[in-house]
Amino acid sequence: MRFTKDHEWVVLDGDVATIGITAYAAEQLGDVVFVEVPEVGRKLTPGDGLAVVESVKAASDVYSPLAGEVTEANTALTGQPDVVNASPEGEGWFAKLKIADVAAFEALMDRAAYEDYLGTL
């Protein structure tokens, strides 16, 4: 699992990257009430909006950390947004991306680096 400074996590399986938000981010947001996931087939470049995650008092954009095409979106979250709070780094994933650049994935932080980063906040 790799991490970004925007509190996203990525798991790579072959050339498919699964993306979600970290437990830290989910806790900071508070109760998640709505998640807007991307349509399958959308092509994203790093920094493009991947999803919108809303709590009662805030709406946060989740930006894609990698370039790729959306192959699957976790539409179950639309009806059950609380899954993001219950299992942010598991069932609460947002989307799967088919990526070309594995090196970009490798360049992201590992868990130890992410935890060090959290320590600086």
Binding site: D31, V33, D82
Partner: protein
Amino acid sequence: MTMLNVGRPTRPEAVEMDTHTSLNGGRGLLQDEGLLFEVGRPDRTGVDLEPAELDASDLGDLVRTAPIGLAGLSEPEAVRHYVRLSQKNHAIDLALYPLGSCTMKHNPRLNEKMARLAGFADLHPLQPQSTVQGALALMDRLAHWLKTLTGMPAVALSPKAGAHGELCGLLAIRAAHESRGDAARRRVLTPTSAHGTNPATAAFVGYQVTEIGQTEDGRVDLADLAAKLGPDVAAIMVTNPNTCGLFERDIVEIARLTHEAGAYFYCDGANFNAIVGRVRPGDLGVDAMHINLHKTFSTPHGGGGPGAGPVVLSEALARFAPAPWIVHGPEGLRLEEEARGEAADAFGRMSAFHGQMGMFVRAYAYMLSHGADGLRQVAEDAVLNANYVKARLQGAMTPAFPVGPCMHEALFDDTWLEGTGITTLDFAKAMIDEGFHPMTMYFPLVVHGAMLIEPTETESRAELDRFCEALLALAQAAKAGDVDRFKGAPFLAPLRRLDETLAARKPRLAWHPEPTAVAPAPQVIE
């Protein structure tokens, strides 16, 4: 002597009860009131209409055949329903209502009476103009007062609220740039402390929003502004007095830099209350500013509107004002309702008809009541009251900007709550139990745990003291570790804290006849 020796007890008996609950779950005279659709019936009505001999034959299949689904009440039932509901609201008529940025001042009832004169209330917006000369004269005089008080040459009356006024101002600015063939200006600068409507309006008009930084003492960072101004900037939007309740000391320089860069200065006039009668925005270099008649000029907030947001405009923007315009003609006053003639450069139309006439009448009655002298006193007392609250509370709470006077609002941060486990929200909710509406919280965004208190000029010293003493007592309780008083608050309101997460996750936005997912109030005795 004849004595009637059967009487009722005239002294209360001493009965010890920790918590008392009624048998039906209500709180004495404050009873739960069912929804209209639960207490009303489709066949019940509160109006008497003679049945028409309906022949809808020419309407054919356009006629609605299925039941609509409305509920009706007889007149007494309707009166009860709404009066009972009203009793669950707090109101400025009940106590000081310290919502910063919202200007909850007394709403004079004379204004209500005047707005209901048939000569204003029973006028159709499109009846012949020869039959509404008094209404047009009132609009013209209101415009004169607004222009005089702001030192600006023109005003567009039609915007229906502050945000609508912002939209009007930015559209005029855009039209001015376009009239010079300048289409390169794509950005609007606004401070991080701005009202949410500022960036929302700029985006609505198709501009990108760039935030300007703020100085340590809560003002626009001039250096940052200068660095961000450029040939791609259409306008800046700055609130003055600003959302921290402070006057922008460098306002003239802000305007100069803005104009030097070829941009316009939009001033959010939400806080005009603090300077009315004393300071004219026109003297400060402002190009456009909306005036919330429901703030500065006392028209009632009505539980969320209607408001009115006339926009004053500088010479550079005046000709782009939207239709309709009031024009002085040989036969009296006339409304020019199209972009032609005198109004040839009007950028368009903000809404149907001519604006919030009902609010114009109220605001004009308020202006006449105060006069030039009274309005100046309004600003002075509003500022005096806020500084008094700040002075009385600053020993217990931490002012966000302790140095120097504030204007009409006193802003505190939550530094003083550190270590208590109590948040700004908890503190605010506990104010409800003490009989006050919470202050504006967590706004402006630049101050941590912000508490923005605007007492307004219509509070007496006694009410200010009552308010300050309530807050000081709460502050003392907070620091003494009486956490439950805050975490569970309010305890004494019609309802306790509401589950906003549930409301947002499973939105129920209308009543449906099927059983509700949410259980009704339990009618049990604990």
